[in-house]
Symmetry: C2
């Protein structure tokens, strides 16, 4: 078996990153180019470390706007950043498109599909989370979730195709079924998706058909719990519920999905005939615990980490973001938010960089700086909880828009998203109403 | 079998389009929402005709910029227009997403996959052309062509993935093969594709890899003929050849592709090891002749039409654009250009509209207004032949850019393409460098 930091292959590469004292450079492997991995690599760019950033895709994805790609408001390219171009100027960072399949802790290397194994001195696992169907993996094809660009494009195709098929259909019951959209899970993703589908149907598409009335499309949002956006304070959550109803969305709270078949779903005691069912009910950590050979913690299957985000007993390995579990202020586990991942990635990157500069003191433990949370409900309303102040309505929506534009990584993405948003806001038009799948791939 | 103009299904729909004299409205079916079909439907919007515009996709595609989607300069949504939104305000036009599978001329109806048959009084076939591998249909998977958005996205994935795999590869010969791109066919599409791949490799990606040098990627452009862009005057064609060589493209003229396998291609007498082979060597008409039960004309398999674009002997049927054959000025057949399709579509639409208004005189025959032709070679050069003036270089390129921005159908597309172009022109960056295919779908 060939084991190499890929840097070794090219004569000269990495030479500029050799340590000043002539020892071999410290090899940092980062797996995952999401918020956490990107922040870690940025913190290590320009240091003496040799960094290998590995992701199974070639892009960093701005997940908070993925639902807008799925509902035809944005193009796939608008919210993705080619990882390579982000590290073009950082000679000590290399990017590898490959998939992690195992970790050999004894030999300190990661095994990959699509590339030779890569050895590490420090390993940062930032592989995030995957959708979880709570043991019903057979539901994943019937009720797809929204995690990748491929997911978003496939969801968009399904959504738009349902309207097209309804327009061509002469059976009233089937038309009704085609125009019923069930979203399972009333967390931020489910709420965003349901409200964006509602606006697509009731506004964008309202006048575009001759036989069906998209404005009569049913959007049903189910959740096993008794509130939407339950992570928010009660008053904000109740406000969001009211806004969703005002958008014409049917809320089914206390209604977990029990069964699912080609015709529709059973949520609580009710059967709903629906062609499109989308899953936003839960996630679990990527199998980091299995890769590391440690026990996973709780339902989320995360890995418990120490206060410096390292694996207890193995200071060479760090886990950041959705895949780790660490108590935050008040003793509750830190939430699965991009801001946690980003701060942890930067923290671990700087921690390693400090060690390489010879800092002897043990680092201060990771402290999550909570900037608050935001959730958007349609194109005019949002809720925001900044702790010291809570906002609802249009003001919260303006804050949401500004924050999300600012957080987009590249100037080009920012400009294009801005053009699209202004156009959509003025016209309710959505330029990305394009079914890109090959006609042969059309769902039966 | 159910036969209906879909309009019939909804009470009231179409009522406003009934003829003033109380007779049933004239049913016009247009198949294909490309340049020709769109122009025909626009000419008939607001008339007393009941128009059904059928396409197997849900969008009008601006084909001239498709190569920019394939080479990561633009997003798929930037060059596509949802057909429905274009006819939102035209109550007499309905849009149907379905695929034509047959025409019953005796009963005057089209058979569709995805919808019930639709009857017509006038039928406009604007189904365009498809790629042709000249009898080697088995080459289509190995050497895909560029006709649809799905093609462009799949081609982009292949292209970007080749660089990623080369970066992770340790076998020098395989790296060489992964970084060799063969484009077959030196017409406008082949030239655009080859020069855009060359700029992607030699400029955009130049500094993004650590082990491979994208600037050493080979781009080989083969053609069985002895000139590139052979439809242009000799001087312009020779200029284009020089520009292609200046971009580092290896021209192989008089080198038709003889064989193809997983390793590479044999062009002329030379074997070229290449992972990516793209086909731009030929097109033929969609099977309109077969649908109509008439003889196809020549290699292009088009249908010969009368001077009013109707089918000889059947004045209810018109064929426009790439699928028809009609002698132009000088007796040569009209070329397969978007401008021919657009002018014919508008001509036929107005012809039918005139008949509905009771115009008795036979229409003047179709006359193609030749605005000239343009071809772009990379991001700074083009050739333009307007008959009275011929341009090369940067001036032709400016004309090309202005004309193409202007021809984009929607304001939103225009704005987004403009942002992308300015950004790319300033930085050589291409924001659409995103592999959207699911990792599982990655080519082996």
């Amino acid at each position: 078996m060939q084991i190499a930091s890929a840097h070794d292959r090219t004569a000269g590469a990495g030479a500029q990153t050799a340590s000043p004292d002539g020892t071999a450079p410290h090899r940092v492997v980062i797996v995952g180019a999401g918020f956490g991995g990107l922040a870690a690599a940025r913190a290590l760019a320009g240091t003496t470390a040799r960094v290998t950033l590995i992701d199974r895709t070639n892009h960093n994805l701005f997940q908070p706007l993925l639902y807008q790609v799925a509902t035809a408001a944005l193009g796939a390219e608008d919210i993705a950043l080619p990882v390579r171009s982000a590290f073009r100027g950082a000679a000590n960072v290399e990017v590898l498109m490959a998939e992690l399949v195992g970790i050999d802790r004894a030999r300190r290397l990661v095994r990959l599909q699509g590339a030779a194994p890569v050895g590490y001195d420090s390993l940062i696992l930032a592989t995030g989370s995957v959708s979880s169907w709570f043991g019903h993996d057979d539901w994943s094809a019937r009720a797809p979730s929204l995690k990748s660009l491929a997911d978003a494009l496939s969801l968009r195709d399904r959504l738009l195709d349902a309207f097209e098929r309804a327009e061509a259909c002469t059976d009233a019951a089937e038309v009704r079924r085609l125009l019923t959209f069930v979203v399972v899970g009333a967390g931020p993703t489910g709420v965003e998706l349901a409200s964006s589908i509602a606006e697509l149907a009731h506004k964008t598409l309202a006048r575009d058909f001759r036989h069906i009335r998209p404005s009569e499309a049913r959007i049903v949002l189910c959740d096993a719990g008794d509130a939407v956006l339950a992570a928010f304070p009660k008053r904000l959550s109740a406000y969001a519920g009211g806004r969703l109803r005002a958008l014409g969305i049917e809320l089914r709270l206390g209604a977990g999905v029990e069964r699912m078949d080609e015709g529709g779903v059973v949520a609580g005691a009710e059967r709903i005939e629906a062609a499109c069912v989308f899953w936003a009910a839960g996630t679990e950590a990527t199998p980091v615990a299995r890769w590391l050979g440690v026990a996973a913690a709780g339902h989320g299957r995360q890995v418990e980490v120490s206060r410096d985000c390292s694996l207890p007993g193995d200071p060479a390995i760090f886990v950041v973001g959705d895949a780790m579990r660490l108590a935050g202020p008040g003793g509750r586990p830190l939430p699965g938010l991009g801001s946690v991942a980003k701060q942890q990635g930067a923290y671990v990157g700087h921690l390693i960089a400090g060690r390489l500069r010879g800092r002897a003191a043990p680092p201060a433990p990771f402290r999550y700086r909570d900037w608050g949370q935001l959730a958007i409900i349609g194109s005019n309303s949002a809720i925001a909880d900044f702790g010291f102040v809570r906002l609802t309505g249009r003001l919260a929506w303006l804050v949401w828009s500004a924050v999300h534009l600012m957080l987009l990584v590249s100037v080009r993405n920012r400009a294009v998203v801005y053009v699209n948003w202004v156009w959509a806001w003025l016209t309710y038009g959505r330029g990305a109403r394009i079914i890109t799948g090959a006609p042969a791939g059309r769902a039966p």
